[in-house]
C-alpha cells in the first residue's frame, strides 16, 4: 500500500515543480527509491473546504525509522546516495500527505497552526522535515502558504504509541479537524 503512496508522492512532486526546475530523476532515469517501510500506512482522499482553502487529505504513514536509497547521475558516473532517519526513542514519524489549494481566501495557511493531536490530547507541531526530500518524496514547503496549489508530505514526530490522531487547524472564522487514524 505504501508503495502506492510513494508513487503518488513522486508523481505529485513532478506535477508541482515548475519546470526543468523539477526533481524528475524518476522520469528519465532509473532512480531507485526504496520507499520507507511503514509500520502503519493508509491512503485516503478526503477533501474539505474551509475559509477559502480546499484541503485534501491524501494519506499518512507512521514509522520509527525511514530509509531511502537513490541514484544520482553525475557528469561521468552514477552515484548512490543512501539516507536514513530514526525517530527519538519512544517517538515515531507521522508523515501526512496533503493537497492545499487556495480557492478564494485572504488567510495565509500557517504551519504552526496546523496541529496534530492524539487521543490523549498531546499536541504536535510540524517538525523540521526537509529530510522528506531526501526520502525521494515530495515535501510541502516549510514556509507559510498563501498561494496556488501545493501537494506533498509533512512530518510530525509523535509518541510511538499515539492513536486517535487528528489534524487540526483554526482559521479566523472556522476550525477544521481531519481524522488521521
Amino acid at each position: 500500500m505504501f508503495k502506492k503512496i510513494a508513487l503518488l508522492a513522486a508523481a505529485g512532486m513532478l506535477l508541482l515543480t515548475g519546470c526543468g526546475g523539477n526533481d524528475n530523476r524518476a522520469e528519465d532515469n532509473p532512480t531507485t527509491v526504496d520507499e520507507p517501510t511503514a509500520a502503519s500506512d493508509s491512503t485516503k482522499n478526503v477533501s474539505y473546504e474551509a475559509s477559502g482553502w480546499e484541503i485534501t487529505y491524501e494519506g499518512y504513514l507512521i514509522d520509527t525509522s525511514l530509509q531511502n536509497a537513490s541514484t544520482v547521475l553525475g557528469y561521468a558516473e552514477v552515484e548512490t546516495a543512501d539516507f536514513s532517519k530514526t525517530a527519538e526513542e519512544g517517538k515515531a514519524f507521522c508523515l501526512i500527505k496533503l493537497k492545499l489549494k487556495k480557492s478564494n481566501s485572504n488567510e495565509t495557511l500557517k504551519w504552526d497552526k496546523l496541529m496534530l493531536i492524539d487521543a490523549d490530547g498531546s499536541e504536535y507541531e510540524r517538525m523540521e522535515d526537509s529530510f522528506i526530500s531526501d526520502l525521494g518524496m515530495n515535501r510541502l514547503p516549510g514556509t507559510d502558504l498563501n498561494f496556488g496549489e501545493n501537494e506533498g508530505w509533512i512530518c510530525y514526530e509523535v509518541d510511538e504509541n499515539a492513536v486517535g490522531l487528528t489534524l487540526n487547524y483554526t482559521f479566523e472564522e472556522e476550525a477544521l479537524s481531519i481524522r488521521i487514524n
Binding site: L14, G18, G20, D28, T32, V72, E77, D134, G142
Partner: protein, 748 residues
C-alpha cells in the same frame, strides 16, 4: 421529424463533449468506465493506463493563479507576496499590488551590506507583478519598494532553509574595487547537491542569492539570452550521463517560456546566433556515436536548419588523444561562433584540439592543437608556435574555447595526461598534474601561434581539474576562470583523479577573477562546477511576462525499432523486479527500472489491439554486483498512431507484463478532417479509436479561430473538472447548449 433532428443534435453534442474529454483525459472524466474497461482478448487482468505528465500545464495554472491575485486589489501598503511561485526557484518572490495611478516602482533588495544590494526599476503600470530576485537563503530579506510619488513600502520576505553544500561556499580572495559589484557569480553545478539544485548565483560576499532546482541537480551550462531570459538544458536525460532532450528558455523566477526538443539531444554547450536561432552540441540521432554533431535549431519552429557531422571533416580515428573512445571520439565540449569570419569554433576534448570550421561551407579551416598523433589531417591546418622562449604549451583535454575580438583564442587547458598515445610514457601524472587558463594569439595567414597569457600552472595539483571547467574574458586583461573539478582522494593522497574515478573524494571548484596575472577574487565551492559566468540578476529593460505560456518546440524524432522476441504472449510473467517509471510525457514514453541483469535480448515490447508487436532496445544505465538499472524511451513518431499498446518487457528469455498500457492519439494533422478542433475518441470497451472532429458540426453551429491543422490533446485537471461540472450541473438544453471553444488550450 423535429424530434429525430433533436436527437441527432444531442448525440452530436454529446459526442463532441466526450471527444473533447478524451482529448484531455478520458480516464479522469469517466472514472467508472476507466477502472474496469481496458482489457483485451489476451489478458483478462485489468490494465491501468501509464501516467501522463505535462509540466508546462502545471505552470500555466500558476500563471492563472498569479493573474487572479493581481485582480484581488492588493495595495502597496499590503501587497501579496508569493515566495517561489514556480516552485523551482526558492530565492525569488512575486510581489503583487495595484495602484490608482500609473507609476514605476524602484526596488532595492537589501544585501547584508550596501555593496550587495540589488536594485531594479520596474516599468510604469497600474498593475504591478514584480519578480523579486536576490533573497537570502533561509533568512529574512528586506525589500524596499518606492513609487514615483515617493510612497515607500519595506517588506520582510522570508525564505526557507535548504540543506545544501552549495551554501558552504567561501570567498577565499577579494580585492575590493576590482570586482564588479553589480554582477553575481552564476555557477552551473555539475554535482554536489544530491541531485537537486543545478544552478546557483553568489553575490560577491559569497552568499547565495539565487538557486534553481533542476533535474539531476546538474546544469551544463547556463547562459543569458539576448532577450534577458536564461537558457539551460532541459535536464531530461535521454542518453547517459548528461545528454538532455534539448534546451529550455526560462527566467530567473523559474518560469519556462520554451522547451526545445532536439533530435539527438543536447550536451555541453549552445550559442545564440544573431538571428535568434540556437547552435548546439548534439549527437547522432541514433546515438551510434556521441558528441560529434553540431545543429542549429530554428528558434520559432525547432526545426534543424543546419546540421554538421564532424566525421565529414575529421577522421574519427585521428588525433591520437589518450582520452578518446570510438563511441565518443570528438567529445565536443565548447562552441563559439565568429560572425565576421563565419567561423565555428569547437573545443573537442577527445581530439585535444580546437577546430575552426567555415560554417557555411562546412570546411575545416584550421586545427589548434598539438600536431603529434594526427595522421590523416592536412599538415597545413596546424599552427606553428612562435616566440616560445617566453613559454609555450599545447593544451590537452581543453574546455570552453572562445574567440576574442582581436582573433585571439582563450580556453581552459585541463591538461589531463598532457600527451598523446604515441608518447604515453610522457604522461603527466600524480603530483605533477596541473591545469591552466591560456590565451593564444593566432596569425591565420601565416598559421603561427603564440602563447600570450596563462594562469594556473603554478597552482599545481591543488587547482587541477581534469575535466569540465571554463573561462571567459571580462575585458581589459581581466579573465573569469572556473577550475571546476578539483577532486582529492585522501586515502591515496592524490588529486590525479580522472572523471571515471569515484568514491569518497573531496570535491571543490574554484571561481577566479584574474587581472593580468593578479588574482583579485576567488570563490571556492565544495562542489563540482561545469562553468561559471558573471552577470547581473536583472537584465536591462526587464519585464516579467505573465501572459506568455510555456510551449514545446521541436521533436526528438523517431526511435528505431528492433527485432521482436519470439514469445507467446500467454507466457508473460508478472513483473518481479522494480519498475521505477512508466510514464508518458509530452515528448516521450519512458520505462525504467532495476533488475538483476540486462540481457542482450532485452527489449521493450508494445502490443496493439490486434496483437502486433513493436520492440525497442533497452539501455543499461549502471550495474552493481547484484542489480542493473535499465531505461528505454520512445517518441510518438516511433509507433503507429491511433492505437493503445499493452506494455511488456522482455529480458533474458522471459516476457514480463507490466499490466499497463499507453495510448497514442490519432495524428490529427490530416487535412481531410476539416476546420476545427479534432480529437480521437477512444472506446474503452472495444479499445479502438474513432476520429472525431468538431468539423462534423457546421460552421454556424460552432465557430472557431483555429487556423492550423496541428493539435495535441493537453491534459488539464482544472478544465476537465469544469467540463464535468458543466455537464452535470449546467442544466444546458439543446436549445441553449454549452459550447466551449478550444477548451483544452491545445495551442493550435
Amino acid at each position: 421529424m423535429k424530434n429525430k433532428k433533436n436527437i441527432i443534435w444531442i448525440l452530436v453534442l454529446c459526442l463532441a463533449v466526450a471527444a473533447l474529454a478524451v482529448g484531455l483525459n478520458w480516464s479522469k472524466l469517466f472514472k467508472d468506465t476507466e477502472d474496469d474497461a481496458p482489457t483485451d482478448t489476451n489478458d483478462t487482468a485489468a490494465r491501468t493506463e501509464a501516467e501522463y505528465e505535462d509540466y508546462l500545464a502545471s505552470q500555466t495554472e500558476v500563471d492563472s493563479n498569479l493573474q487572479k491575485e493581481l485582480e484581488n486589489g492588493y495595495t502597496i501598503d499590503d501587497p501579496m507576496v508569493v515566495v517561489n511561485p514556480y516552485k523551482n526557484s526558492p530565492l525569488t518572490a512575486m510581489v503583487i499590488f495595484t495602484t490608482e495611478e500609473t507609476t514605476s516602482v524602484k526596488c532595492v533588495v537589501k544585501g547584508k551590506d550596501n555593496k550587495n544590494n540589488i536594485e531594479v526599476e520596474f516599468d510604469e503600470s497600474k498593475s504591478h507583478m514584480l519578480p523579486i530576485y536576490g533573497l537570502y537563503l533561509g533568512d529574512t530579506t528586506e525589500v524596499e519598494l518606492t513609487l514615483d510619488d515617493g510612497t515607500t513600502k519595506v517588506l520582510q520576505i522570508q525564505t526557507e532553509s535548504i540543506d545544501t553544500v552549495l551554501a558552504d561556499a567561501e570567498v577565499t580572495a577579494y580585492e575590493e574595487g576590482q570586482v564588479n559589484s553589480n554582477e553575481l557569480t552564476f555557477v552551473s553545478i555539475e554535482s554536489g547537491d544530491n541531485g537537486q539544485y543545478g544552478a546557483v548565483a553568489y553575490d560577491n560576499a559569497g552568499d547565495i542569492r539565487w538557486l534553481l532546482k533542476t533535474p539531476e541537480g546538474t546544469v551544463i551550462p547556463l547562459k543569458r539570452l539576448a532577450n534577458g531570459n536564461i537558457m539551460i538544458p532541459t535536464g531530461r536525460i535521454i542518453k547517459t550521463y548528461y545528454n538532455s532532450s534539448g534546451l529550455i528558455e526560462l527566467d530567473l523566477c523559474g518560469k519556462i517560456y520554451h522547451d526545445y526538443l532536439v533530435e539527438g539531444g543536447e550536451h555541453h554547450d549552445f550559442y545564440e546566433l544573431a538571428n535568434g536561432n540556437i547552435l548546439l552540441c548534439g549527437n547522432a540521432s541514433d546515438f551510434s556515436t556521441v558528441e560529434d554533431r553540431i545543429v542549429e535549431i530554428d528558434r520559432t519552429t525547432g526545426e534543424i536548419v543546419y546540421d554538421l557531422d564532424l566525421a565529414e571533416l575529421i577522421d574519427p580515428s585521428d588525433g591520437g588523444s589518450i582520452n578518446r573512445s570510438d563511441h565518443d571520439w570528438a567529445h565536443t565540449n565548447g562552441l563559439d561562433y565568429d560572425e565576421e569570419t563565419d567561423t565555428l569554433i569547437l573545443s573537442c576534448r577527445h581530439l585535444d584540439a580546437v577546430l575552426g570550421i567555415d560554417m557555411s561551407d562546412k570546411q575545416l579551416k584550421w586545427i589548434l592543437g598539438d600536431p603529434e598523433g594526427w595522421t590523416n589531417a592536412d599538415e597545413s591546418l596546424f599552427f606553428t608556435p612562435i616566440n616560445t622562449e617566453n613559454g609555450f604549451e599545447w593544451q590537452f583535454a581543453q574546455h570552453n574555447a572562445q574567440f576574442l575580438e582581436d582573433g585571439d583564442i582563450i580556453l581552459f587547458d585541463n591538461g589531463a595526461g598532457r600527451t598523446k598515445t604515441s608518447k604515453e610514457d610522457e604522461k603527466v601524472t600524480g603530483d605533477d598534474v596541473y591545469s591552466r587558463a591560456v590565451r593564444y594569439e593566432l596569425d591565420y595567414e601565416n598559421m603561427t601561434i603564440e602563447q600570450v597569457w596563462e594562469y594556473g600552472k603554478d597552482l599545481g595539483k591543488e587547482w587541477y581539474s581534469p575535466y569540465i571547467s571554463g573561462m571567459s574574458y571580462l575585458g581589459t586583461d581581466t579573465y573569469w576562470i572556473t577550475s571546476g573539478a578539483n577532486r582529492y582522494d585522501a586515502v591515496n593522497d592524490t588529486y590525479d583523479n580522472p572523471p571515471y574515478v569515484t568514491g569518497d573524494l573531496v570535491k571543490k571548484s574554484y571561481h577566479n577573477q584574474v587581472i593580468e596575472d593578479q588574482l583579485v577574487y576567488e570563490l571556492t565551492i565544495p562542489a563540482l562546477s561545469y562553468r561559471s559566468i558573471r552577470m547581473s540578476l536583472y537584465p536591462s529593460d526587464y519585464t516579467f511576462d505573465l501572459e506568455a505560456e510555456g510551449d514545446y518546440i521541436g521533436t526528438l524524432g523517431a526511435v528505431n525499432t528492433t527485432d521482436n522476441p519470439s514469445v507467446n504472449m500467454e507466457d508473460a510473467k508478472s513483473v518481479d523486479f522494480e519498475l521505477t517509471t512508466i510514464k508518458k510525457t509530452y515528448d516521450r514514453f519512458i520505462v525504467s527500472g532495476t533488475w538483476a541483469s540486462t540481457g542482450e535480448d532485452a527489449v521493450l515490447v508494445l502490443v496493439d489491439e490486434e496483437g502486433n508487436m513493436t520492440s525497442f532496445s533497452l539501455t543499461s544505465m549502471t550495474a552493481t554486483e547484484d542489480s542493473e538499472m535499465f531505461s528505454v524511451w520512445i517518441t510518438e513518431e516511433s509507433v503507429e498512431q491511433g492505437h493503445s499498446y499493452d506494455i511488456y518487457l522482455y529480458n533474458n528469455g522471459t516476457l514480463y507484463d507490466t499490466k499497463q498500457y499507453v495510448r497514442y492519439y490519432v495524428n490529427t494533422q490530416s487535412s481531410d478532417i476539416g476546420l476545427g478542433a479534432k480529437y480521437a475518441l477512444y472506446d474503452n470497451i472495444a479499445r479502438s479509436y474513432q476520429l472525431i472532429s468538431s468539423g462534423s458540426l457546421t460552421s454556424d453551429q460552432i465557430t472557431t479561430d483555429i487556423t492550423t491543422e496541428e493539435s495535441a490533446p493537453i491534459k488539464t485537471a482544472n478544465i476537465e473538472a469544469q467540463i464535468t461540472n458543466e455537464l452535470e450541473n449546467g442544466g444546458y438544453t439543446f436549445e441553449s447548449a454549452m459550447v466551449i471553444q478550444d477548451p483544452f488550450n491545445v495551442r493550435l
